[in-house]
């Protein structure tokens, strides 16, 4: 069983410590008070939504769900550093970033339940539906980034992957090609220490995943993934660099998922200790950031209550809306196989038992 503690000995970017103290004021992002508060609002909202989603999954009200608690700083901080026309390629766990980037929450719930409409991303929203095939998003992101470069648009592609995902060939291939063409690509590795049950030290013999950037000739940065400002700063820097035509960046955010891998039967007790979990919880991104905001006088009890109420209402409303969405039909599903439905496929939809179309 893995007993490794949060990595402290290796260097990484950090803006606020566990007590919410600023480590180096020159590292503080140059953003407004409102923007600082928004990071907190979104992290808190996401935590509360996660709690409900877990509960609803247990009650059978949602389907597939990968818990996110513990990773809010990495998720929210990175998305917040983008502009809305930057493009996100999320994995199955990166639902919050996609939602904060414009994917309607009720559609994220439909995705969880297993409804095609969940994945019908609204026009103008720059995200793909969550990727199931680990690594595929990295090579695709290189292509998206290449399109931006070819059209000379000041946009970046940001692909998310986990520590386990960095073992995939697609991960190396995507970075390699991005390095060759100096593409505006950001790969954000959320190193949450485990790929389902496999600890990161069984995944790779290299101690810092950020080092994997080196072989592609791109920059690799390691950040405290429990510090939302560090993540924000790292991504912000990578965005500026990419938009200036200076190429791709790999960012490793050190973090932890508090819950099981997904709600489909994973039992963390089989592969990690309570002590390790507690060690990471002591570095909680929300508690820490709340302390920081308090020292600035930017966060009140009332702010907290407001987010709680908003989260409760909006998350419930999104679930209700998802539940009210019309059921899928065979014809509608099949109509999205090709631009134009082949005659042969249309014929197959006439079910032989009834000689009628399946609705």
């Amino acid at each position: 069983m893995s007993v490794h503690a949060p990595v402290r000995e290796l260097g990484y970017l950090r803006v606020i410590d566990e007590e919410g103290q600023v480590t180096d004021s020159s590292l503080l992002p140059d953003i407004t008070e409102g923007h600082f508060k928004q990071l907190m609002e979104r992290m808190l909202f996401t935590r509360l939504w996660d709690e409900r989603a877990i509960k609803w999954t247990r009650q059978g009200k949602l389907g597939f769900y990968a818990p996110v608690a513990g990773q809010e700083a990495a998720m929210i901080g990175s998305e917040a550093a983008l502009t809305m026309d930057d493009f996100i390629l999320p994995s199955y766990r990166d639902v919050p970033q996609a939602v904060w980037h414009g994917w309607p929450l009720y559609q994220a719930f439909l995705y969880s339940l297993g409804h095609q409409h969940g994945n019908q991303i609204p026009e103008g929203v720059n995200v793909l539906p969550p990727q199931i095939i680990i690594g595929a998003q990295i090579v695709q992101a290189a292509g998206v980034a290449m399109a931006f470069a070819l059209r000379k648009e000041k946009r970046v592609a940001l692909a998310y992957i986990g520590d386990g995902g960095t073992s995939q060939g697609d991960f190396y291939e995507g970075m390699n090609v991005a390095g060759v063409y100096r593409l505006p690509l950001i790969v954000l590795v959320q190193n949450n220490q485990f790929a389902i049950s496999v600890p990161v030290e069984k995944q790779t013999a290299v101690k810092e995943l950020a080092k994997k950037a080196e072989a592609s000739g791109m920059e690799g940065i390691r950040v405290d993934g429990m510090d939302v400002l560090a993540v924000y700063q790292a991504v912000q820097g990578a965005v500026q660099k990419a938009k200036a035509g200076e190429g791709p960046t790999l960012i490793e955010a050190l973090t932890f998922r508090y819950g099981p891998h997904t709600m489909s039967g994973d039992d963390p007790k089989r592969y990690r200790t309570k002590e390790l979990e507690e060690d990471w919880r002591a570095r909680d991104p929300i508690i820490r950031y709340r302390k920081f905001l308090h020292t600035k006088g930017w966060w009140t009890e009332e702010d907290e209550r407001k987010v709680e109420t908003k989260a409760k209402d909006e998350v419930q409303a999104a679930l209700d809306r998802a539940n009210q969405f019309p059921a899928m039909s065979m014809k509608a599903l099949a109509s999205h196989m090709y631009a134009k439905m082949p005659i042969e496929l249309a014929d197959q939809l006439i079910r032989q038992d009834t000689k009628k179309e399946v609705k």
Partner: protein, 326 residues
């Protein structure tokens, strides 16, 4: 004899193989420490040691590639692909490399590998977990494809697959993992690869299927018996590459009618191949066209639509009636 679920029978087979032969190695994502996402390998690492049962990095191409290399050096790798939809990542190593090894080296090298993988619909998995992709492998020479339909079958077939001289893809339908128990011998036993099995005798029509659909076929045969007094013979293909033509043709010479049922989407798959063989070997024994029951040619659907998409007993019964009256 113990009453085992299919997942327990598979674990029992892996354990028997590891015990019998030191060359057997079991590996894949999450198969060691945690015993597999379905617990197929639960306790095996603890019992046989981490050198023989181990977690690999998350990379299917390297899992399959390791298996190729290990098999070339005399080991017997039993590699797990966590879900069948992830097999695309490993396909070059499986069918581009291992399956061709014996042929391209004129027999100097060969790859006795088993690739185990869960698949199949009706269990509410996300995308690319449930898809029936067996057709891709059935079309590829050099690799055998096995789909067990019950716990007893799974253990015997898996042990044969492990000690077979060629690469074998072993497809485990998730719906069968825990849905029922059956008597399974504790000891080592094998069941023949490449042989179909008549699981229910009948004289009016032959219903051919494999995997979880064998259960659907048996139920449909029972309904047809009750409702129409029909005597339907049910064949479980068990091995879908190479297909046992003889058992099929023998049955059709007796019944003169047939329906083929598969969970995979319709075109260019196992059902099509079975029908082609019937056409070639037994067309003059037929009293009507051989019909097919298969979902339409779409990607495996989203969870909320699985039930509508998957073949049902009623649909099979309907096709049986069509075939009887054709």
């Amino acid at each position: 004899m113990a009453q085992l679920t299919m997942i327990e029978a598979i674990r029992s087979a892996l354990s028997a193989a590891l015990e019998k032969d030191e060359r057997v190695l079991v590996f894949g994502e999450d198969v060691g420490q945690s015993g597999g996402v379905f617990r197929a390998t639960d306790g095996l690492m603890q019992r046989f040691g981490e050198a023989r049962v181990f977690d690999t990095p998350l990379a299917e191409s390297s899992i399959a590639g390791l298996a190729t290399g290990l098999s070339l050096q005399g080991f017997i790798p039993v590699a797990e692909i966590q879900f069948f939809g992830f097999v695309f990542e490993a396909m070059d190593e499986m069918i581009g490399q291992a399956a061709r090894m014996r042929f391209r080296t004129g027999g100097s090298f060969h790859c006795p590998i088993v690739y185990r993988t869960p698949f199949g619909g009706g269990v509410k998995t996300p995308e690319l977990h449930a898809d029936s992709l067996e057709g891709l492998f059935v079309q590829s020479p050099g690799i055998k494809v096995i789909v067990p339909s019950s716990p007893y079958e799974a253990k015997g077939l898996l042990l044969s697959a492990i000690f077979d001289e060629d690469p074998v893809l072993f497809l485990e339908h998730m719906k069968l993992y825990r849905s029922f128990r059956e008597e399974v011998p504790e000891d080592f036993y094998t069941l023949p690869l490449g042989e179909a099995k008549v699981v229910k005798a009948g004289k009016d029509l032959t219903l051919i299927s494999y995997g979880a659909m064998v259960r659907t076929a048996i139920k449909a045969a029972e309904i047809a018996a009750q409702e129409q007094g029909l005597s339907v013979e049910v064949i479980d293909l068990r091995t879908i590459s190479p297909i046992d033509t003889e058992t099929i043709v023998t049955s059709i010479r007796k019944t003169h009618r047939a329906v083929v049922l598969q969970e995979a989407q319709r075109s260019a798959g196992v059902a099509a191949e079975v029908i082609a063989r019937i056409n070639e070997e037994a067309i003059y024994d037929l009293e009507g066209p051989v019909l097919r029951v298969a979902p339409p040619d779409t990607v495996y659907p989203f969870t909320l639509f699985e039930k509508e998409w998957l073949p049902t007993e009623q649909l099979v019964v309907h096709q049986i009636n069509q075939a009887m009256h054709a």
